[in-house]
């Protein structure tokens, strides 16, 4: 299993990343301080000071950054849909073998 897979599926095929609601985000950067995977990037001199720079660094099913978010500005996909997607991709790969 390489660094770019999750449950045997290429990480880039799994849609799991935080989405920032800019109407709520106050750019406190608690999420940046917390996330050890460098998912976010700070852009100090721009109006939008925070972006999701490396979505595929995000650990699938981890929502820890959203739990540090005071203004509740981070959201994630539905876990059931994501796990079903992983199952489907695995089945598809088995059928091709």
């Amino acid at each position: 299993m390489s660094e770019t897979t999750f449950m045997g599926v290429e990480r880039e095929r799994i849609d799991w990343k935080p989405v920032i609601d800019y109407s709520k985000c106050d750019f406190c950067m608690e999420c940046v301080k917390f996330c050890p995977h460098r998912v976010f990037e700070v852009r100090e001199n721009q109006e939008i000071k925070l972006v999701v720079k490396n979505p595929f660094n995000c650990v699938v099913f981890c929502r820890a950054c959203s739990k540090t978010c005071g203004p509740d500005a981070l959201s994630f996909p539905d876990k059931n849909k994501t796990s079903q997607m992983i199952r489907d991709i695995r089945k598809e790969a088995e059928n091709h073998e």
């Binding site: 299993m1 050890p36 929502r63 739990k67 005071g70 876990k79 059931n80 695995r90």
Partner: protein, 285 residues
């Protein structure tokens, strides 16, 4: 809340939720005679509050998930006996807090609800009807990086997910918990929120939370099932997770509902041990 508490609010004055935390603390201390810990003054005059905190269980009131009051308690090494987060309680009650700092009708309604809850014994420590589960003992393979030791139990009935949680399956039941990778990265665990007894959890669903001064970790259930037991001991002693997250530091017992289906996305010791070692090297250099 039948006994006298030391109450530590976040007192955040730039958000509505912080203003609510302050109001709840003031009301608790004014009407019900609990002792307030001022988060601002405690930073420069800690001794003033040491005695109160040593004599009374500590109730922490965070306004929002930034958890300023919890972090202050961790920094000062105050043991948390109970806690609430205003924004979470608002969500549970279906109350949308205003963007302003003035407390309106909705905010006062929430304050009333929370004060009422806090006056009901047991509510702050969130104790469900836990049952004492039997304790297991396992053999471990270990991996050491610097001063940090990472254990992984070697047992064919223990399954893992890549999110560093485990399930020990026995018949139609499973005990679940987190691995050493989680507890070592969180460092000292200060608070445990158990999953709700009787609730149904999907595979990869949330099975409670554990919290340190660094972060809140959502326990991710490796298996689907109904919660039939939680580890009551963790409510008073969350540090048991640091001591051994596989034995006395287990999280919950589940009655399995779809194990044959879940198995497809579970891994055994061999695979997990390799994944964990790689993560340790990546994160800790």
């Amino acid at each position: 809340m039948s006994e006298k508490y030391a109450v530590l609010p976040c007192n955040g004055l730039d958000k509505c939720a912080g203003v609510i935390s302050r109001e709840i603390a003031l009301r608790l201390c004014g009407d019900a005679g609990h002792e307030i810990i001022c988060p601002v003054f405690s930073r420069i005059a800690e001794l003033k509050y040491r005695k109160i905190i040593s004599e009374h269980p500590l109730l922490v009131i965070d306004g929002c998930p930034t958890r300023c009051a919890s972090k202050l308690a961790a920094e000062k090494n105050f043991k948390i006996a109970g806690k609430i987060t205003v924004t979470e309680e608002a969500k549970k009650s279906g109350i949308e807090l205003s963007d302003t700092l003035q407390l309106g009708e909705k905010e006062h309604a929430l304050i009333g609800l929370l004060l009422n809850d806090l006056k009901t014994p047991g509510n702050t420590s969130k104790q469900p009807d836990e049952r004492e589960g039997e304790s297991y003992h396992f053999d471990y393979e270990t991996f050491q990086k610097g001063k940090f030791l990472f254990r992984v139990p070697v047992n064919k009935d223990i399954f893992f997910i890549e999110n560093d949680c485990w399930a020990y399956v026995s018949g139609n039941r499973a005990r679940i918990g987190v691995t050493d990778f989680v507890q070592q990265n969180l460092s000292d665990i200060l608070f445990f929120t158990p999953p709700e007894m009787g609730s149904e959890i999907d595979q990869f669903g949330e099975a409670g939370e554990i919290e340190s001064s660094k972060s809140v970790f959502e326990v991710i259930s490796p298996v689907s099932g109904k919660v039939i037991g939680v580890n009551e001991a963790l409510i008073q002693k969350p540090e048991l997770i640091n001591e051994n997250p596989y034995e006395l530091g287990w999280i919950a017992d589940l009655e399995l509902t779809a194990f044959e289906n879940d198995k497809e996305l579970l891994i055994g010791f061999d695979q997990y041990f390799e994944i964990m070692k790689r993560k340790v090297m990546d994160l800790n250099g």
